[in-house]
Assembly symmetry: C2
Homo-oligomer: 224 residues x 2
Amino acid sequence: MRLTERNLKETGREYALRMLKENIINLDLIPGSMLSENELSAEMNLSRTPVREALIELSKVKIVEVYPQKGSAVAFVDYELVEEARFMRDVLEGAVVELACRMATEKDISDLRENVRLQEFYMENRFPDKLLELDNEFHQMLFHITSKDQVYHLLDSITIHFDRVRRMSLAVVKDLKTISDHKEIVEAIAAKSGEEAKRLMEKHLSRYKFDEEALRKEYPGYFK
Amino acid sequence: MRLTERNLKETGREYALRMLKENIINLDLIPGSMLSENELSAEMNLSRTPVREALIELSKVKIVEVYPQKGSAVAFVDYELVEEARFMRDVLEGAVVELACRMATEKDISDLRENVRLQEFYMENRFPDKLLELDNEFHQMLFHITSKDQVYHLLDSITIHFDRVRRMSLAVVKDLKTISDHKEIVEAIAAKSGEEAKRLMEKHLSRYKFDEEALRKEYPGYFK
DNA sequence: TTGCGGCAACTAGTATACCAGTGCTTGACA
DNA sequence: TGTCAAGCACTGGTATACTAGTTGCCGCAA
C-alpha cells in the first residue's frame, strides 16, 4: 500500500476508502491479494471499524471480495464487470449528452469551453495528472448540467473496474484526439444538435478499447 | 417501524438494511423523520454497528441523510432524485432489452414466457404481492440474460426513490396492461427485433408517470 | 420580560473487546 | 511414512466503551 496524507476534515472511513481505491487502481494492491482488516487498520493508523466500512463499500461493487471468517481479497480482473462498466458508461453518457443539448445554459457551455481550454493548456505543459482530472471533470459536468449527479455517482462506483484495466493497458495516453473530441462535443451541445453530440460521444468513448487477450498474456494471474 | 422476522443466515447488517428499506418504501418511516442509531438498534435487537452500516449504505443513495453529530433522517421526497431514477431505468432497460434480442437463448426466452404465464396466474387469483415480485423478477431477468447483473444492482439501489413515490400514488395497479406489455416484449425478443423491443419497453415504462403536483398536495410535508 | 451563559442530553465517529467460525499446522498414532 | 485429529491462529461479525461535537433547555441576571 502506498499511502498519502489524510486530508483535513476527511473521516477515517473516507480516508481508508480513498487509499484503497487509489492502490487498487494503480495496481499497488495486486488483484487476488488478501486484505486483512487488522493489517490495513494498523497501516493507516485507524481502528478496524472505519477500514471495515470502507471494505464493505468496495465489496458492493465487487472490486473487493469478502469471505466471511476467511478474509477479504482484492478482486481479480473480471472482464464481464469491465464490460458492464463500459456498457453503463456508454449508454448513460450517450443519453446525458443528448439531454445536455436541450438543457445546457449559456453559462454551462462557457464552463465546458473553459474546461477544454484548460485541457489544452495542461497538455502543452505536460501535466498528465491534471489532465486526467480535467477529463473526469468534463464528463461529470455533463451529468451535473442535466441534473443527474446521483447517476454519475453510481456510474463512478463501477467505473473502478474500467480504470484498473485502463491502467494495465497504460492507455493513459490522453492524446490530442481526446481533447479535440471534447471540443467537438461541446460545440455540438452549443449548436443543440443532440444526434450529433451523441454520435460524437460514442466515437469518443470507443477509443477506450482494450485487447483482453493481450492483457491476459501480459498480466497472467491478474485475471479471474 | 414494522418489523418482520430475521431470516436465517442473514447478517445483522442485511437484516437492518432490509427492514429500513421496506419501512421507507411503504412510508411507515415517514419522510423527514429522525432515525436514531440507538433506538433502531434497540428495536431490532442489534448493536449499533450493523445498524450504522445499514444507514451508511442508505445514505449513499441519498434516501437517508446523515448529519454528523446531530442525527440521521429519512430523506424527504426529492423529485430530482425520482427523475434520476426514472431516467436511469429508462435508458438502461431500453439498451438492455435491445441487447437481449441478440443474446437471449431459447432457454432464456422460455424462462421469460414462464414468468409471464405465472404473472397471469397470480393476476387471476389476486396475489398482488406475488405479482409485484414477478414483475421485478422479469426486469431482473433481462439484465441477467445480457450479463449485466451488477448494472441491475446499481440501478436497483436508486430505484427506492421511485418505489416510494409509486407507493404514495398507490399506482400499484399492476393491471392487465402491464402483463400484456411484458408479453409483447418477450415476443419481440423471441423475434429478435431489437428496435421493436426497445420501443415496447419505452411504452411500458412510460406507464409509470406520477403527477408531482397532485402528490405534493396529498402529502404536504413529505417533500423537500 | 428578555437575553445570555453553562450544563445536560443527545448525536456520529472511532476504538476496543469478544465471539463463533475456518483452515492450517503439528504431533501422535497406525 | 502416511493419516487424521486436536488445537491454535487467524478471520469477519457483533457488541460495547469512549470521544468530541452539537443542540437546546434551564436558570440566573440585567
